[in-house]
Amino acid sequence: MHDILRTFAERVQAAAAARTPLCLRAGGTKDFYGNTPRGEILDPRVWSGIEDYEPSELVMTVRAGTPLAEVEATLAAQDQMLAFEPPHFGAGATLGGCVAAGIAGPRRASSGYTYGSLRDFVLGTRLLDGHGRLLRCGGTVMKNVAGYDVSRVLAGSLGVLGLIVDVSIKVLPRPRAEATLQFECDEPTALDRLNDWGGEPLPLSASAWQDGCLRLRLSGSEAGVRSAVLRLGGERLPEAVAQAYWQDVREQSLPFFAGNTPLWRIAVPSTAEPLALEGAMQVEWGGGQRWLRSDLPAADIRARAQALGGHATLFRGGDRGQGVFTPLSPALHAIHQRLKAEFDPAGVFNPGRLIRDL
Amino acid sequence: MQTTLAPAFQNRPDAQEAAALLRSCVHCGFCSATCPTYQILGDELDGPRGRLYLMKQVLEGDRPTAKTRLHLDRCLTCRACETTCPSGVQYGRVLDTGRQLVNEQLPRPLLSGLVRRLLAVWLTGPLFAPAVAMGRLLRVLPAAQAAGVVPHRLHARRMLLLAGCVQPALSPNINAATLRVFDALGITLQVAPDAGCCGAIRHHLDDHDGALSEARRNIDAWWPAVEAGAEAIVLNASGCGTMLHEYGHLLRHDAAYAAKAARISALVRDVAEVLPALVGQLAPRLRERQPQRVVFHPPCSLQHGQKIRGAVESMLTTLGAEVLPFADAHLCCGSAGTYSLLQPQLSRELRDRKLAALGAPRPEVILSANIGCLTHLAGGTPLPVQHWIEWLDAQLA
């Protein structure tokens, strides 16, 4: 074991022995997310760097403390990218934090498979668990079904199972061409169109509706994007404007996200009708992700999300004391507790961050 | 699959052959997907792979019980599995031997054996036609389309036609239509008076010796015409065609008949094999009319038994029909010879599924190529059900 990792392991073992909670935190760009962090800070940024990257293998293996910006710049130099377009939410974002948060950006809206959620691209990890064991799960190849897929569970786990040490991530070539189209329409029309277009072989790579305006991004080959632009019509945005816009969607820097009104992320089946809740709305991911700025009681918002077949997360702000995620069914909750007990029996990692009693 | 023959079977050629054929099965399970009974019953033992396993056990010396026989009896012998099988397992042949070995070790109960024997005698005997006529008279059976005028011109090209046993009684127009179409193409079809049932009915009712006798009788009946240069033995019931193709194999150990049987098998042609090259000549004689929406149900004996696929459909398209695609065209309709009588529940379920699939594209008529399928399907639908050659005959002005 590398000296740095040995230090981490000793720290974890000491914390376990003393039953002292540890807060896994690098740049702190996602402190706002999840239930309120607590515990002594364990900062993985001393474990930084790209361990392995061969563009023709479409895989990059990265230490958890590596800045996300460094990862993306290295990929861009080879005309490749992280296909889930993760938000940074600040300059200090690291790859480990990105994976632990499990948040994907606008590119997840893909109608084919090509792009998807963050966990779809995690191929392997090394994890330092609560016993101080360094586990190596998954691998660096495209397909791997040896053993349980523990790596992908770490995506979005908010660090509750252990410290992610390295991640091997599948990367993709950047699309040769992109175009963004804009349509004036109300929310029901936007949802109708998104679901219609989702059933057609179109290279959709992002969608956002807000304030009477639907914007669509197309990514792919020159020919594919050209024919899709012809098929869809609408007003084409200049590429520089479009890129700035999608960057703002990704980083939540649009005016919609400003201010202190609680921000809810409501995930629903893409065909779900408009939420029709009091508050401002932004629709993304072909209709599957709906942002809501609202002071309504959490119970009302959760009930509406559930009625539409989805779930609601208090993403930013608001009263975070009651748990920001949708509660689990008793059977799933029991499995979560037993998993936690297996990986982190002393409960040292990010206690309560994902589920209040976990 | 490796099979170690039990001592009792080690010197039996049929058992040796079955064990050798079993060797090519790699247990991939692709066959289950296209097995009609597995689709309904969902039990490995009611699919080809499980049946092969059951027969392997018998060959290895395990005494079968009625359960093994039940699963073998439920097989339709549609041979869809053979079409699917990438390793080329000749399932039908293994099954013939398997059924025989089971029956030897476990004779059928008196009643069930008797039913089978009576069926064989009745269906292929002289009493069947009068019985059908009586059924029609009593309105128990639907009326058949009249046969119409049969041509008697003699052409230079001559082929033999197997008239069949149950078909002339159930649907006399099929042979008449065949004769007319061939006449229009300048070919005389001769029917040998002494030829009769092809033997398939007895073969599938466990009466192997009876089936072989019928095969020998047919060979004798055709031999003079074969010697005289008949181009082919033409069939318009694909079930019989499959059986005739087996003559060479079934009689391979019969010194007196082996060579003749092989020759006969080599001369067998379904009408669907003979006509594609010739239908062009009929174009000037076709009636002008709107293309009719038809579905063609390919009998298993045509598509799996004789591996004739797509020929009828493309011919019908050439002749101006709109041939509609439908789901699961590879699956059996449940007729399968005497199966509809011996396994009525499964047979009816398969028929209903088949008719639902055939009816989905809203055809005006259902066409097929074997008397068993035609009768079976007609019993469950208000749509007209015809042999495709009858349809073709009706297009000719």
């Binding site: 023709s56 090509t114 523990v150 072989p201 020919a223 | -």
Partner: protein, 491 residues
Amino acid sequence: MDDSAVIESRPEVIDGLRRLLPARALLVAAEDTRPYECDGLTLIRQRPMAVALPETEAQVVAILKLCHAHQVPVVPRGAGTGLAGSALPHAGGVLLSLAKFNRILGVDRRGRTATVQPGVRNLAISEAAAPFGLYYAPDPSSQIACTIGGNVAENSGGVHCLKYGLTLHNVLRVRGYTSAGEPVEFGSLAPDAAGLDLLALVIGSEGMLALTTEVTVRLVPRPTVARCLMASFADVGDAGDAVAALIAAGIIPAGLEMMDQAATRLVEPFAKAGYDLEAAAVLLCESDGTVDEVEAEIAHMSQVLRDARATRLQVSTSEAERLTFWAGRKNAFPAAGRAAPAYYCTDGTIPRKHIGQMLKSIQAMEQRFGLACPNVFHAGDGNLHPLVLFDDSDPDSVARAEAFGAEILEESVRLGGTVTGEHGVGVEKLNQMCSQFDRATLDAFLGVKRAFDPAGTLNPGKVIPSLHRCAEYGRQRVTGGAVSFPDLPRF
């Protein structure tokens, strides 16, 4: 000789099952259960105490509860096409077949999902979705027969998963039961279900974490057109390099497959695909999308392949021809039955750059073990499927085949890959799991198993090797001992 004796029969369990199930849905006699003694992996066989063929979900729950109460193992089974023995029965257990759960519960055109029972065949989903211009993307070669329940258990791939993903990427929701018969639902129709992503754990867990009774899959729009480019190479190393060259050129083909000469010669008689039988290796590269897009991509791929020393290129000119190109590839495994009485297919995955080297290593092993080994690869994924041909009636041939397969897997691990890309570990690759993972990680896997199935009754003994087994395997590898499955009945 009964080489698969039931170790212990439990009359009280059998009696209980009789009360739960109609006679047609319970098989106990050896005559009936032996045909269930293996799945697609015939090297290892075991007769179960009983086979249950439930017809309702209530029966499934009752069986689970009964077995849980009596500590009797339950082994789920779909179509029995698996190649790693994940559905190998347990000697004292109940084999629970889900084959009768074969209904498509609904296809949602607008939402682009299909909800199906676990016994629905993979291909049947795409057939049901076809009228809406949609299909289910993962297409394992056995897709005609394999069921979605099995696909979920194995995280099955296919020839198009480089671009369209594995089962994991295309399943939204799995509903089922724990080993104790408690209802559970993983994932959801909405993105990113709350809590840990347990769906990712359940998919590929080889039926050890939960029993699946309903699956919702994502459907994707069928591309306007797909064409397949077939490229010949005079050297297997060139073909391997061409794969890396395509990816390096920024192309993600819809499918990228390789067959070596032995493989093309094996399948051509069945498939009649017109493969170049003189080429040392053939690559099948598929492009899909709009007409313009495909034309441009085919041109780009052709250029890259020519630069990578392709000796001949042929592009499919019709959908029928494209399907014929694939037919040989998809039927390659069972077609081995035409060349030898048995085949042993392994499933290692390696970094693409090592494909050429791996093929050469396998050629050397063919000499050493005296067995032929045609190769078909999911080249785009680096996923190998060497088919070791052997004679299962000759114990020596069987032993050499097992050793051959094991060595390929060891080589895969050595090259930085994995012992299984898509077929699963089952019982077949238990030994090699000891090479790929350290004990701590294997123990963590055992922890995952306990978290889902504390009683350990759901498909026990698969995937995760015991400490004892790894010690035994380590000793054999040192001494060159032969028996790779010391605690399993021999074939």
